[in-house]
Subunit: 208 residues, 2 copies
């Protein structure tokens, strides 16, 4: 998962941010190992020793960066949330706006879900293990969509409307399309799914 | 939660279906108590004695109808899934079809989410505690939407399209709108949210 150096550093518990490139590398290894450990076993069965074993680091280096299993779980949810946002941002070519931009974002998200199948299990378990991060993840995603729609509306590309509600609707659609056509079943091209949704967002489905 | 007598009876573990009205009543009490117990405490912390205490029944009557905590949790997920379907079905006036019908369904679902806030926690926890029921719940909901769209398409009300994908998109939108405007914040009228979504489904949002 690609995140910036700054984002990786800020994943550490307060006062434990790495100050060297090597420290950031270890922190990154721990986060990637945590994604596998929590993804495979779930929050309750996952253990710190399981994470350090998967990361190939000493148990002590876990505590160099994190205070607890809860702390690395929260850091992981924020890290994954950022990775989803980064994947969406990377999928937006300059000058592609409005519905076409949402189509690119959905295509990229379906690809992302296929290559990071553990993300659903981890984000969804946050509803129980870390409700604040769960809520922040979805509120952030819906807000980013609404902001893009606001821009497109100002540019005259979209019919004025309630972009907050549209944002939540589009995000919810994307989440379940990612589960259905990304995690559960990869047999259909991501582009085909995104094209169907884009047609719906562009022109609706009522016969005229 | 209203379900038919047959549905309540079939919630029992195999061979333990109640044969009297009084038995069905006890089973119903146990399911309603289980919704509170699992909703408040989550699957792991919930207990059979907590369920019978809330239901005001003897511990023995739990085992008259259910084999285990897992069994009543699965029964509860199926029961809630049926309650969501029943609420949607009750919201469809004769002759209202196509996008207008989806608008009625979303309005009813937002109201349902507001009065059954525990449903998200329980269905979402099924992703971990009972993955088969989790999947069946969402597949069933998406399939029902797709079937309604197929009917409306045949009647010439909708532009032909991939109703399976449309069904998953609409269901996902409804799930997150229910979380955002039903469970987390009830300040906006359900009708207003549903009208925004209906406008999007009817005509899309691209400026013409």
């Amino acid at each position: 998962m690609d995140t910036t150096e700054a984002a990786t550093s800020s994943a550490a518990s307060p006062g434990k941010e790495p100050r060297t490139a090597r420290g950031r590398e270890t922190l990154r290894k721990l986060l990637d190992a945590a994604a596998k450990e929590f993804g495979d076993l779930g929050f309750h069965a996952a253990s710190i020793s399981g994470i350090t074993r998967r990361a190939g680091t000493a148990l002590g280096s876990f505590y160099t960066y994190f205070d607890s299993k809860e702390a690395i779980f929260s850091a992981l949810v924020r890290d994954m949330s950022q990775a989803v946002a980064d994947a969406a941002a990377a999928a937006m070519p300059q000058g592609v706006t409005g519905v076409a931009r949402e189509q690119e974002v959905l295509t990229a998200f379906l690809d992302f879900a296929r290559s990071h199948k553990e993300i659903y299990r981890i984000i969804d378990e946050a509803e129980f293990a870390d409700p604040a991060s769960y809520r922040a993840h979805y509120e952030g995603a819906a807000r980013r969509i609404a902001a893009r729609l606001d821009d497109a509306e100002k540019a005259g590309e979209l019919v004025p409307g309630d972009n907050e509600v549209r944002g939540w609707a589009i995000m919810g659609a994307n989440v379940f399309l990612g589960l259905r056509y990304g995690v559960w079943d990869e047999s259909r091209p991501a582009e085909e799914i995104a094209a169907t949704v884009a047609a719906l967002l562009r022109d609706g489905m009522a016969a005229r």
